[in-house]
Symmetry: C4
Subunit: 229 residues, 4 copies
């Protein structure tokens, strides 16, 4: 069932330790088959070094397991909220990558300071508001998804392909699982650069709007001219 998507999700999960984004089992990737309304996601707490393609779990949009011998990731409900709200999203990644998580702990958006950022993210990478005690005590993972949606609002999620959840860590997404991992790598790298740049010059200026626009449009949309056609 959904063999190809399972392979993509497995490969995307295995890429997380390769890119230095996860320690132990602290991360998960999912992807959706929008036509069938089914999501493939990493099983909860299974170590990367023994995980296999067939361990991937298939759930429907209500989170019911329809294929697989393991429990799905404990963050499954967060992924589902995002897929339900944004049909543009095809894959989602959650990690506790060091520098992006530090911005989440600092309670601040990752500011757009350079073209590296603008090549992938249009504007700051937002930080959610704190969840309330009620939201945490209730359906916590569902509410985590809701607060990300509240933060993103009607923005195009492929123009802001990630956010940090306050005191928690980064979520990134993209048109598929591979693209989501790509954006998670970028978020960690620009989080590191922004930390260092602000340390060097606390009074630095945010990225000029016209330069942001130029770089984002070089790589995205009808007038993109980066790469091969």
């Amino acid at each position: 069932m959904l063999e190809q998507l399972k392979q993509q999700v497995f490969a995307a999960n295995m890429a997380l330790p390769d890119y230095g984004l996860v320690t132990f089992t602290w991360g998960n990737v999912s992807a959706i088959d929008h036509g069938r309304g089914l999501i493939v996601i990493k099983p909860s707490g299974v170590p990367y070094d023994t995980m296999k393609t067939e361990d991937m779990v298939v759930v429907d949009l209500q989170g019911k397991v329809v294929d697989g011998g393991y429990r799905p990731s404990s963050d499954t409900a967060t992924h589902l909220v995002l897929y339900q709200r944004y049909p543009q999203i095809g894959g989602i990644v959650h990690t506790h990558s060091t520098h992006a998580t530090a911005w989440a702990q600092a309670g601040l958006p990752i500011p757009a300071l350079g073209t590296t950022h603008a090549d992938y993210f249009f504007g700051d990478i937002p930080c959610t508001r704190p969840l309330s005690a009620e939201e945490v005590a209730g359906e916590y993972e569902l509410n985590t998804g809701k607060v990300i949606v509240e933060t993103l609002g009607d923005n195009d999620p492929l123009h802001t392909p990630g956010a940090v959840v306050y005191q928690h860590g980064p979520f990134a997404w993209g048109k598929d699982a591979h693209d989501a991992v790509h954006n998670a790598v970028v978020m960690e790298e620009v989080a590191k650069m922004a930390w260092i740049a602000c340390g060097i010059n606390p009074r630095l200026r945010p990225l000029d709007g016209y330069l942001m626009n130029k770089h984002f449009r070089r790589k995205h949309g009808p007038n993109a001219y980066y790469g091969q056609t």
Copy 2:
């Protein structure tokens, strides 16, 4: 004698350089067989790249060597004090890992700032008071154990599975040697994240209590729902 425990302790010691927690011989892991009152511990000053399972030293709870051709770790007395006081502890790790040691040198607890921390440590990772000149001149390693016990008090050591000793470095523990190494890796990672987060925002807020509670309980205790059952 205690072959299985020796293998576990050897494997746990060898994991320290793999996780980047030690330089040269700066680290040691032990584990206890509570039933027999015997501890297996790394020999003192033996390089990791030539160390073998049979080099592990067996001592009793008074520190007397009962098996093995080497002297036990010079920190053995510290381990013994912890095993004697807390029957919940099955394994102990000492390292000089970079960021946790920096917090020890700063003389501050590693603050709970995010869910990464709360998944393993309930509350700040405490920093001991300075040892007095008398405590250092006397039974130094024994007194190091005592000051950790003084710091932990009646807290459940598996809820606070580590501490930093003032101007010295981190000790971590767990239900066995493998678990203790796991907690030492987490302590180093959250020490790094906390340093960066405080650099980004010196006025950041500590982790909300209800979020701390939620995350710790997701992974620990009767209502845990992370991972496979």
Copy 3:
């Protein structure tokens, strides 16, 4: 066509991930055959792990592709401006290496603080002024080259073999592609050291002029005495 130069440019491009200077495809190296007026440059957006020597693109000094099946790097126009202005330059590298990019985001030159810097760069590594909205909306990559030339002026580009472009990142160059990569590695390392040194002592003194002169002359010019003759 230009087989040897293609091999040099390919090898220089492949060295970028080996030295940790690039993530994904964020970097490019070119070299020039001044006699024939032809430049060999990396294709745009091709991943390093599948790129081959024959994928290198040959363009003339006006940027017209004269050999190769791919589009040249989107930064080709920047390289061309530098080759046209400075005949001493034989190879050029552009990366988004972490620490050099952070200085670009901070909007500051990388200050000459030690002999490591002076062994390769005579004086600070300059940061360009911001491009105007018109310059970005117009021939952006060409204007990026022009602002580097404006910054360097009549300085010998082999005495200042690199610069950071404001809010963008580093460009480095040298007598050939290999030398340019060498200088890009040095720029990243001295950018890291300068960040740390300024963090340790915000009131540190810049490198004494006579020490700068001594170290640069140890390795460059008629009285150099470093290395083998």
Copy 4:
């Protein structure tokens, strides 16, 4: 000639890139045969990946090459001054390792902040005064050695087995080449820890004298009890 010492010096030089202490050829190790008054040292500017044991150069205490086909390291005169002044020194290392060099650029000693430091260095790792214009213009490398001697004075060089030269970088030494590399690794690690610790708590207290003494004496001198006898 001096085959065994050449092998030791070659192995010690090759350890520098393994420990991440050098980029390119930025480092050199030497060792002395005090009985014969001969020093074995790395050749100048030869890359680590092609260097062989037989490339090591033998010089006498006046720096005259007595064996070997290459020029000795351009820093040879610095090494000689130290060997002439301190018969306890058997091996010397010079690197531009990142964090120790940053302290040199900051113009500050690396402060003794913890037991990791005190296990190897008794007290701060000193920073030399600036060399004068005359000292730099004259016999620069010789004067670099002299300013290290001026800084160390009558201290036991094995109690302070390293120093940073102002705006330049670290020199470390030990009873032989292997020991000198060991101390260079420690200096880089404690330089990194001290940077982080001072960032976490700018008002931290230096290491208590009695704790310094205890740790240094655990590993050095007649009452040492660390390691195997």
